[in-house]
């Protein structure tokens, strides 16, 4: 028997009762069907699986589910229909940030954390903010510009 792991997932209280050593990413994708978080590397290097844990960007591919007791988790599924989430996603579409798309949900999560902490970032601050998220397609310029766009268009949202 394993101890219960209680946490909040996209605003819903959850109880996980299985093996605490399973990767949080597998639990999210397989047990809860939240496939927006992608596995790119499995070692916390690429950021494609990025989610938000207690306001901070983390990579659930290297987090055992047993360690999230009491945590508040947000995945792409939890933010995509919020005002802030829609603001970022629309800016990404308008700014040409999306190519193959595999890194993009994680990149959107990184953007969410960045703009929450810094509503009006400089180019260097944006580049630093997404530096844990690898993209092989875009060369990053249009992602950076899209994040500027999200900061401008959603100015009122981020400064709350």
């Amino acid at each position: 028997m394993y101890n219960d792991v209680r946490f909040t997932l996209n605003g819903q209280p959850m109880v996980y009762t299985g093996n605490p050593l399973r990767r949080l990413l597998d639990v999210l994708r397989e047990d809860y069907g939240l496939t927006g978080s992608k596995e790119g590397c499995g070692e916390g290097e690429c950021g494609a699986c990025s989610i938000i844990k207690n306001g901070k960007l983390v990579t659930p591919c290297i987090i055992p589910v047993g360690s999230i007791q009491g945590a508040e988790l947000l995945t792409i599924e939890g933010i995509r229909d919020t005002e802030k989430g829609k603001c970022i996603i629309e800016a990404y579409a308008e700014g040409g940030a999306v190519q193959c798309g595999f890194c993009i949900p994680g990149m959107v999560m990184a953007t969410y954390v960045l703009l929450n902490e810094n509503p009006d970032p400089t180019e260097d601050e944006i580049r630093l903010g997404i530096s844990g998220n690898l993209c092989r397609c875009t060369g990053y310029d249009l992602i950076v510009e899209s994040i500027h766009l999200a900061a401008q268009k959603g100015a009122a949202l981020w400064k709350k």
Partner: protein, 713 residues
């Protein structure tokens, strides 16, 4: 809804669903009663398989191998040749060669079973490097030829080289090498096999669904139509998913034939890094004859490391040879290419398809020759720029106006190149470098007509039109560009055009999504089909279908490699500026300026993204992406040791698009997806050389290699 025009800014059709995390990649799919598969691979580079010891397989778990191929089938995948075995038996030729699959319902159990399988080998000495292959280390791979040469070709122009060399004041000789490169698409290789109505159905992350069908049908000796390939949203490919999905799908086909349940195989990153195809390492030996300070001839011997199977290597090598004199017209040339077999994972397509290797080597060779002659490299190169009507190295001609002078003008002004080149004395710690390059669009010569015979079909239902082609979206934006071409031609809104990920049972074969051919060839087909549909628009619901037609008057002989290799080239020029910390040798890139001539941009935002991303991959190739093979094993195994550029490594790029409409492309467009990869690595090296006053003849040049090079100055 208003009619879409080519110049309109549009939102990519796939952007929102991808950003919302709703696009379905293979890894996101689950089918009822899903089984999983893991590959069992060779752990030695060369040897005989003496015995395979299997653990006891629990009920519902299988080990699938060559023995499961039915008698009528052949253990071969059909790429260009049929040399790649679906499952190795009796002997292995490289580390990572597929020997079998373990298949069953529980992944942890499967991994455990896989790890318990013990294979006895008698190891033989492997050939690993190009030089090993040339010298037949461990014995020739092709005993009947007593050599490891898999494929070869040459082309020559002008007078015999002995004559040219005899008359030269000096012969400037250099050997340059380029490395492996890993595609590192963020989505790893993956596929699912299942059955539907007695047919084998595959969901695959793939560039070329029709290639897979053709490649694997012979394993069971069944008609192509009994295999259906459905492309899933594909998370990057860059050539890595051109032929390689055949290797996954072939093995899965044999398992599916036996088990008849949905079977899913997703590589993890370590598997994808170590056990998938790569860019060909190359060695280029150039001898350039100089008289009175001018080049009078060049001889090049080009060697590509093909690994153990041919895959697409002969075509890659051809493209390498055809681009081996860069964007320059040199009066007398002899260029010879050899594809060398080694006991390493087969190399295959990767953005640029053989051209980046020779382009880097020749561009750098000319820079070094300019240093040697004491002249400015860019001024020196500009003396030899190809222009319309010039004879090419394959005895064909440059068919289009070459706009490189105008493009060089744009980026030298934007970057303040001519002032900086005077200001930055060699060795001062700052440098600025330049590279010029091109890329022949589509298949070589008449290959589009002789080999591919592409089709495109449009179906009108009410005021909606659906495009049926086998071309795939892999991130490059083709689902959007093609819909835009179709809408603009029909004079309707892009929102009324449907173009789904292809299913080989529903679409016509428009050829592979490769060779920068989609926009220029398939886009043109769709434009023609749409023009016909427009004329008949009021006839109700109907279908139009067109086949590729090659322009007349441009001969090509594929047997001798003579004639017009390409009807249209994309052209590029890039400048890179760097600052090198003279204590640590760390390089900071200060600026990147590029200009590309691609005929016409169908969608500027998509083209901008391609330019930015292609240049970034090329900068990675030149600077940091180190993939070494030691004794048959890749040394780098994951994203923590195979390093690709992050958002912090290179600055925002300046880009310029030069228009020059191409008569046979849709709205004047040519290919561009590969072109943008072909130059930045050489410009980067040129800049670092100037900053440090040294020369490099190989890439990449991470800090430790710069230190090593400086020791030798």
């Amino acid at each position: 809804m208003p009619a879409t025009k080519i110049g309109d800014k549009v939102i990519r059709v796939d952007a929102i669903e991808k950003a919302r995390g709703e696009a379905t990649y293979v890894c996101d799919m689950t089918l009822p009663d899903m089984q999983y598969a893991y590959m069992v691979r060779s752990t030695v580079p060369r040897g005989t398989i003496d015995a395979i010891h299997l653990p006891e397989m629990p009920e519902g778990y299988y080990f699938i191998s060559a023995k499961d191929i039915p008698a009528q089938g052949k253990n071969e995948l059909w790429m260009i040749m049929k040399d790649w075995r679906c499952f190795a038996e009796d002997y292995v030729l490289y580390v990572g060669e597929t020997i079998g699959l373990v298949v069953g319902p529980d992944r942890a159990t499967l991994k455990d079973l896989r790890d318990q399988i013990k294979i006895d080998y008698t190891e033989q000495t492997p050939a690993v490097t190009i030089d090993d292959g040339i010298n037949c280390v461990g014995g020739p791979m092709f005993p009947e030829k007593n050599s490891n040469v898999m494929c070869e070709l040459f082309c020559e122009k002008g007078r015999p080289m002995e004559e040219v060399f005899a008359e030269a004041d000096e012969i400037f000789e250099e050997t340059l090498t380029t490395p492996y490169q890993e595609h590192a698409h963020l989505e790893t290789n993956s596929a699912i096999a299942t059955m539907e109505d007695g047919k084998f159905v595959f969901y695959a992350s793939a560039q070329c669904p029709f290639y897979i069908r053709k490649s694997i049908a012979g394993l069971l000796d069944i008609p192509y139509e009994d295999i259906i390939i459905r492309q899933c949203t594909t998370g990057g490919a860059f050539g890595g998913k051109e032929h390689f999905p055949d290797v996954l799908c072939g093995a899965l086909l044999i398992a599916e034939n036996k088990i008849r349940k949905p079977i899913k195989m997703v590589f993890d990153r370590e598997e994808d890094t170590q056990f998938s195809v790569k860019r060909h390492p190359s060695k280029c030996v150039y001898k350039t004859a100089v008289k009175n300070g001018e080049i009078i001839g060049t001889e090049g011997h080009i060697y590509y490391n093909c690994g153990a199977y041919l895959s697409s290597s002969f075509v890659v090598l051809q493209r390498g040879v055809f681009h081996a004199n860069g964007v320059y017209t040199i009066p007398n040339t002899y260029l010879k290419g050899e594809g060398i077999g080694t006991n390493t994972f087969p190399t295959c397509a990767f953005r640029g398809f053989g051209a980046p290797q020779t382009l880097f080597c020749f561009e750098t060779h000319l820079t070094h020759l300019a240093h040697h002659l004491g002249v400015d490299p860019l001024e020196f190169k500009m003396r030899y720029l190809a222009k319309k009507g010039d004879e090419t190295t394959t005895n064909g001609h440059i068919i289009e106006d070459v706009k490189l002078p105008e493009m060089i003008d744009v980026i030298t002004k934007e970057s303040d190149y001519w002032n900086k080149i005077k200001e930055y004395k060699p060795g001062c710690g700052r440098g600025i470098g330049v590279a010029l390059y091109n890329h022949g669009g589509a298949f070589t010569g008449n290959g589009e007509q002789a080999i591919i015979k592409a089709h495109a079909r449009l179906t009108k239902t009410g005021d909606k039109v659906e495009i049926f082609v086998g071309s795939t979206e892999m991130g490059q934006g083709f689902r959007t560009s093609l819909r835009k071409i179709c809408a603009a031609t029909l004079g309707i809104s892009i929102d009324n055009i449907e173009y789904k990920n292809p299913d080989t049972s529903k679409v016509v074969d428009s050829g592979p999504t490769a060779a920068s051919r989609s926009t220029m060839i398939v886009g043109r087909l769709v434009e023609r089909a749409a023009l016909e549909m427009k004329e008949r628009w009021n006839e109700g619901d109907f279908t139009t279908e067109v086949e590729y037609e090659h322009p007349e008057g441009y001969p090509w002989d594929q047997a001798t490699f003579r004639g017009d290799a390409y009807l249209g080239y994309g052209w590029g020029a890039v400048i890179v500026e760097v600052e090198v910390d003279k204590l640590t040798n760390e390089v900071k890139t200060l600026g990147v300026w590029s200009s590309h001539e691609i005929g016409k941009a169908i969608d500027e935002l998509i083209v901008h993204g391609q330019i930015n991303g292609g240049i970034m991959q090329s900068l990675g190739y030149g600077s940091m992406e180190k993939l070494e093979n030691k004794k048959g094993y890749f040394k780098q195994k994951s994203m923590s040791d195979y390093v690709i550029p992050t958002s912090m490594d290179f600055p925002k790029q300046f880009y310029h698009i030069q228009e020059n409409p191409y008569p046979w492309g849709p709205y004047g467009a040519k290919g561009m997806g590969e072109l943008v990869f072909n130059g930045a690595s050489a410009a980067y090296v040129d800049a670092v050389e100037r900053a440090l006053n040294c020369e490099f003849t190989s890439i990449p040049i991470p800090v430790e290699d710069i230190e090593e090079a400086l020791k030798n100055v």
